[in-house]
Amino acid sequence: MFQLSSEGLQAVKKELSRYETKDSAIIPSLFIAQKENNGWVSKDVVDHLSKVMEIPESKINEVFKFYTMFNQKPVGKYHVQVCATISCALVGARELSSHLCHELKVKHNEVTEDGRFTISRVECLGSCGTAPMMQVNDRYYENLTNESAMNILRGLK
């Protein structure tokens, strides 16, 4: 069963009193919990948050399923999101994500056998002038080539 760490719990409590309404703490708390649950929001994450925050599960579910940054299924240790919207598509972003999948022997949105990587194609990340690009967990890597992107992934611990 998922439980927030004591720091996580403190952080959620802080969010609960930060805004004019308690509901506004749902998104920030989901971020805190997702980070502590290997990058995704499972059912027991929602159950736990519901208890801790005293907000009905249905409300938390509604929010978490609406936003793409909350993962509804497990992802690799490194979640590699390649932007494939128009500006990136114009300079080869889809070829890049296909290349990464090919090299890592995995399909889009699935986890590599060693649990290290998930490659996803996502919508505009606001990095259109430095395309192609990828977001690995929180960090942006820009002006990529197929080779430089693969080198970055190989260099991750």
């Binding site: 930060r18 509604e62 936003y67 128009i86 500006s87 889809r94 919508e123 606001g126 430095t130």
Partner: protein
């Protein structure tokens, strides 16, 4: 013609990011000045400056502020830093290079509209800009520019960052308000407009990052000084994000009314041996221009409207002659289908159908009548929903199909791209 670095004058200085460096280069002078003015004077100056919203809609900022009720009800200032319009990356630059410029513009604006609390709603993927803005807010509090009795004026103001979680629709102002309230980011029916009933049903002004930053310069130079740049109805400078098939993509600040062809040259021009084919001049929701139209366009609200498109967020997406327009439209229909919030039927269903039809053509299952079906579905999506996302999904389809119909017909007949010569699977997979 080169750039006019009006807002971005000091963006090349690393020190401009921090409070000390910002102050060394004219920072917080206008906030101190403005807080000695009467709020009505500031609103009046902003009205006279002709400043129009830089996020997409281009609505007069002063007029928007003027819609606030004339009472003492608490009101909120909400900075739209969700920057989700494909092709746009200027707010990110502003938050990274000059977070204090935004904060200063917001202090002045908040004072003008008598708001004691503001939020900067930043898209969650912008990890680094979020960190920059948060740090700057801390510095501003420590220096007494936020909090109680700012500049000894008796004016109190608190500011916080709210981090989004990945939804294009939250860039729509009422969607953003829903999201800030802890709900799904679904837009609300207008009227009432947010200025009357916004966040928590209180009067709320939602302005874009670039709009709020510009307010500082209207105070510095006065409305007349600000209007020195731009055209009569499109005043001031604007940051344009140029992306796609150019040599040096990036953000460029130029006066409104700047020729699009010169802007493409600023971005290094086309790649060797490539010709311009099309330009989306104002973010992916703006109808596409063909090369001929692009060559005569100027980057102001009026000229682009006369060409049947819009300035939008100032995202210029350049497409060269190696690109397949059917394929490119496929990326857009996919985007809008993914981002539709699902609230209104014409948009929820329409975006799905558009995407399915374009992809059936791409995958070699298209029929000639599908091209007209695209037009019919798109026509039925316009003006029938709570927010503009449905229109934003329909307009690119209508413009792509009408201006590049031959490419669509070729793809249907031959099952491959007229430009690339290959089928969809061979193109990208």
């Amino acid at each position: 013609m080169s750039e006019v670095k009006y807002l971005t004058e000091f963006y090349h200085l690393n020190e401009f990011q921090g409070l000390e460096g910002y102050k060394k280069n004219g920072g917080y002078v206008e906030a101190a000045k403005a807080l000695k003015m009467k709020p009505e004077e500031i609103i009046d100056e902003v009205k006279k400056s002709g400043l129009r919203g830089r996020g997409g809609a281009g609505f007069s900022t002063g007029m928007k502020w003027g819609f606030l009720p004339k009472n003492n009800e608490p009101r909120y200032l909400l900075c739209n830093a969700d920057e989700g319009e494909p092709g746009t990356f200027k707010d990110r630059l502003m938050m990274e290079r000059a977070p204090h410029q935004l904060i200063e513009g917001m202090i002045i604006s908040a004072f003008a509209i008598n708001s004691k609390k503001s939020y900067i709603y930043i898209r969650g993927e912008y990890d680094y800009p979020i960190a920059c803005v948060r740090k700057a807010i801390e510095e501003a509090y420590a220096a007494g520019y936020l909090g109680k009795n700012i500049f000894g004026s008796g004016f109190d103001h608190d500011m916080d960052v709210y981090v989004g979680a990945g939804a294009y629709i939250c860039g729509e102002e009422t969607g953003m308000i829903s999201s800030l309230e802890g709900l799904k980011g679904q837009p609300k029916l207008k009227p009432p407009f947010p200025a009357v009933q916004g966040y928590l049903r209180k009067p709320t002004i939602v302005n874009n990052v670039e709009t709020l930053a510009a307010v500082k310069y209207i105070i510095r130079d006065g409305a007349q000084g600000y209007k020195k740049y731009g055209t009569e109805k499109s005043t001031g400078t604007k940051l344009f994000s140029v992306s796609g098939n150019v040599m040096k993509p990036g953000n460029f600040e130029v006066p409104l009314g700047y020729p699009l062809k010169d802007l493409i040259e600023l971005a290094g021009g086309m790649k060797p041996g490539r010709k311009l084919k099309a330009v989306i001049p104002g973010g992916s929701s703006a109808p596409v221009l063909n090369a001929e139209e692009a060559m005569k366009a100027t980057m102001d609200y009026e000229n682009l409207a006369s060409l049947g498109t819009m300035l939008g967020s100032g995202a210029v997406i350049v497409i060269d002659d190696s690109q397949c327009m059917v394929d490119m439209l496929g990326t857009l229909t996919h985007f809008y289908h993914h981002e539709s919030c699902g609230q209104c039927t014409p948009c929820r269903e329409g975006t799905g159908w558009l995407d399915k039809i374009v992809h059936s053509i791409l995958e070699g299952r298209g029929r000639l009548q599908d091209i007209d079906l695209l037009i019919k579905v798109a026509d039925n999506m316009k003006g029938r929903t709570i927010c503009a996302l449905s229109d934003a999904a329909a307009l690119p389809v209508l413009s792509f199909v009408s201006k590049f119909r031959e490419e669509f017909e070729f793809f249907v007949r031959e099952g491959r791209s007229q430009v690339k010569g290959t089928n969809y699977a061979q193109m990208h997979h």
